[in-house]
Symmetry: C2
């Protein structure tokens, strides 16, 4: 607790400059010289279905978009594969064991420097709310709460899932046309 | 020049702790409090072919694996799509304009926290060595210098390209079995 207070009471002081050997400006700390190479972040997630074709959705317990429904997905961590990241997120958010079936889509959200890698997966356990979910549920297609989905990419992934649900193998989708400028 | 010297003469001093609201240890600067969230990095690249089926390779002018042959590929930057990153890298390393055709593979290299997203693409310009390439060339399949390729993922991507070169659409490949522990 003392450590946490100490950490949050110090504010890093950055300016921008081109580091030696680099070709573009980076944030560099004026206090300690740390170069903050900001890379795009990877979100890994899944459209998880059960044997009846119901889809797993999680109602977010955290911002952004608290209270809205989303697919189990989250930031990839170090030292894991994309598939392991998607499985970990399903476990953390819905206490779900899933079997990855195929890559469904790779969406880029350049305004926020995110790449979202979405899989089609099969539920292999019961589900329950993890700490980041208010509730979780398996939804019949007709019951999906379209107006209460958290992010555009959730709508895209569900739509792309529906377009290929009877296919064994297909190329992954990318962004729908005209979506270069979304910010979440 | 003065700035570059100033930057490299300061050494950040990090220790590890769990930041408030987080669930795992991060590197935190003892001098300024900056939390270094290290995320996996995305490499975007392409197997680029011309109308005769020749493959574009670049001989590396920089470490690691200087002098070895590679596909045009590199770290994704902020505020671009994966496809734009692959096109930018082809331009930077081989002065090549390319048209992205399909996603070929998504490889995870967890030991070094990398995700490599590789496309199949068509060459639409001449080629020339960029600053990171000693030379570039279009190779007939029989002339590919297999023993002088820079990284395992280059071998995988070329092999996966060959397996699907006559297909219009196919699911992207992931890692070959047993490759979880490679370190480059
Ligand atoms: Zn600092
Ligand atoms: Zn610092």
């Amino acid at each position: 607790m003392t450590d946490e207070l100490a950490i949050s009471s110090i504010t890093p002081d950055f300016s921008t400059a081109v580091p030696d050997g680099d070709d573009r400006e980076r944030r560099i700390c004026n206090t300690c010289g740390f170069v903050d190479y900001v890379n795009p972040k990877i979100v890994a997630g899944s459209v998880v279905t059960d044997k009846d074709g119901k889809v797993l959705l999680c109602r977010r317990a955290i911002e952004p978009r608290k209270g809205f429904w989303t697919l189990p997905a989250g930031f990839m961590e170090e030292n894991e594969t994309v598939e392991q990241a998607a499985q970990r997120e399903a476990k953390e958010e819905a206490c779900a064991d899933i079997r990855i079936q195929q890559m469904l889509a790779v969406y880029s959200v350049p305004r926020i420097s995110q790449v979202q890698i979405m899989f089609r997966a099969r539920l292999e356990s019961s589900i329950d709310s993890g700490p980041e979910s208010l509730e979780v549920g398996m939804f019949d297609w007709k019951d999906i709460p379209w107006s209460e989905l958290a992010f555009p990419t959730v709508i895209w992934a569900l739509t792309h899932y529906a377009a290929t649900r009877h296919l064994q193998a297909f190329p992954p989708f990318t962004n729908p046309p005209g979506t270069e400028k979304i910010t979440r």
